[in-house]
Amino acid sequence: MGKILEVKKLKVSYHTYAGEVQSVRGISFDLNENETLAVVGESGCGKSVTAKSIMRLIQTPPGEIKQGSEILFNGKDILKMQDEELRKLRGGQISMIFQDPMTSLNPTMKIGKQIAESIMIHRGLNAKDAFAEAVKMLETVNIPNSDKRANQYPHQFSGGMRQRAMIAIALACDPKILIADEPTTALDVTIQAQIMDLMKDLQDKLGTAIILITHDLGIVASVAHRIQVMYSGLIIERGKTEEIFKNPQHPYTWGLLLSVPRLDAVNKDVLYSLNGTPPDLLRPPVGCPFAARCEYAMAICNESMPEETKLSETHSVSCWLQHPMAPKVKSPLNAGGAE
């Protein structure tokens, strides 16, 4: 498995009336071929901004990708590409599905035509062949009567079908990378399960690398190979799926895992909840951004940001509890919190 995408020291800010909001504060990560990388975190942690930066969809102004950031796609820096190159990249090499399928489809254009559009642009087919290809794509994403459905408009589709249509558009040109930004948040659980299964099947078939952005750790467990947890513009823990679920080390990751009620848990027990809200990124704290909400916070946590500690080849965490002088804290997950 080779690296297909390398993000290096990515910094993104938004310039607002109140000042500069530092949405992403220097994150680095890789994506390998054929793998699913989950990016998990609360609203405002910078996960969607990261995704948009990869597609160069940050509007400037007010947004700004800072000097020194690099996003290498097969070794080539996306941030230095000219418009012509970018057009080939977007939708052709890297494509994206959005959270809300209703607002991201064109309501005045037939579904088939919306899929055919990108096929015509990137694969150079004529309108008729592209439309036939679009019908085939709808079949691939399990939409029944696809030839009839291709001639319908988005409002005639249900929420789950619209999301399938979005996936069809995204995969129509065999992209190397698919970025899925909260693809199932607006959907019911049964439909969510269908969509996740579909994405997994398509990955097996087409070998696409997937970046899955979500705040729901539940759906991540079944599909992701690796997980990175983001908090206020930083990656605070990353590792293989098993490592994050079996041996999480950051108190924030513990909180995320614990606040999901499990079906085997006792009723009406007090759920573990993270108190407070994430810090204001207009004035990000100098220390660890989670310190204010962390029950294990020490004096040092408010003073300086911890370095990333490597726990294994794949698992690392940024937390002062890893320091040899820090007190040994047991994860509340193993202490019976989730049982």
Binding site: M196, S259, P261
Partner: protein
Amino acid sequence: MPEDNSKDVLIEVKNLKKYFNVGAGAVLKAVDDVSFVIRKGETLGLVGESGCGKTTCGRTVLGLYGATDGHVIYEGVDIQGLKGKAKKDFTKKAQIIFQDPYASLNPRMTVGDIIAEGIDIHGMYRGAARTKKIYEMLDHVGLNREHASRFPHEFSGGQRQRIGIARALAIEPEFIVCDEPISALDVSIQAQIVNLLIKLQKEMGLTYLFIAHDLSMVKHISDRVGVMYLGNMMEFASSHDLYEKPLHPYTQALLSAIPVPDPEIEKNRERIKLEGEVPSPINPKPGCRFSARCKYAKPICFQERPQFKEVEKQHFVSCHLF
């Protein structure tokens, strides 16, 4: 249904129907013959996919929609016939918390006025007593007193939902319909709100009708749970029984679709896959509403609607398999 002999019944819903005319002679049967009881001090969960009629059901129980047929009996009085002062008295006992904390607060009113709106309508407190009540409510839901003079846009989603809860509680109701109160919130904030609702229930002896599509959260908060599908009640049982031993094929599929935050369990898990999607509730076909997606469907399922019957003690199912 469900004869419930226990004396502590607060609300009895009997054969409730709510139809909407959607033009051209078509009828959308949002709630179609649903019966259940809500006991004093309990949390009754109502789950189902979007479009199953759970919100309509909750609103009809509150009298926000007039029922097409059937009865909602609140402490022995049918709320359908209420008018004037009697109706106003009922609205003081029953309140609602809405799903979308962004759309359900008036952006031009201060938080204090939002919370006190019910107090003003019912003429409960004035002047200093009113202010005192507002502060008390803010304390209850974990907000600061200074927040009373601010406007909704200054708050985050979780804080707004707390304001919505304070507003519902300000007039000291007995019964609250929680209509998807956490769906619009982040996972970590969801836990905060659910903890708050449970705490308030214990302190004030409230009764909840908790509507949600998140089954794990419903299991956590509810004493009993009803599963709805296309306007029908498919299964109704204590939350323990329902999750331990789901009887209806739809409930089984719904439970199996919930992702478990554990990669090892997920790897070895056999999911019951539901094919297709929820059919349209407009002019529904006869027979069991779930028959088109049910893998156990027999000929009778397409012709006759199954009865809602007690299969085990306090465990009701509407399915021809039983």
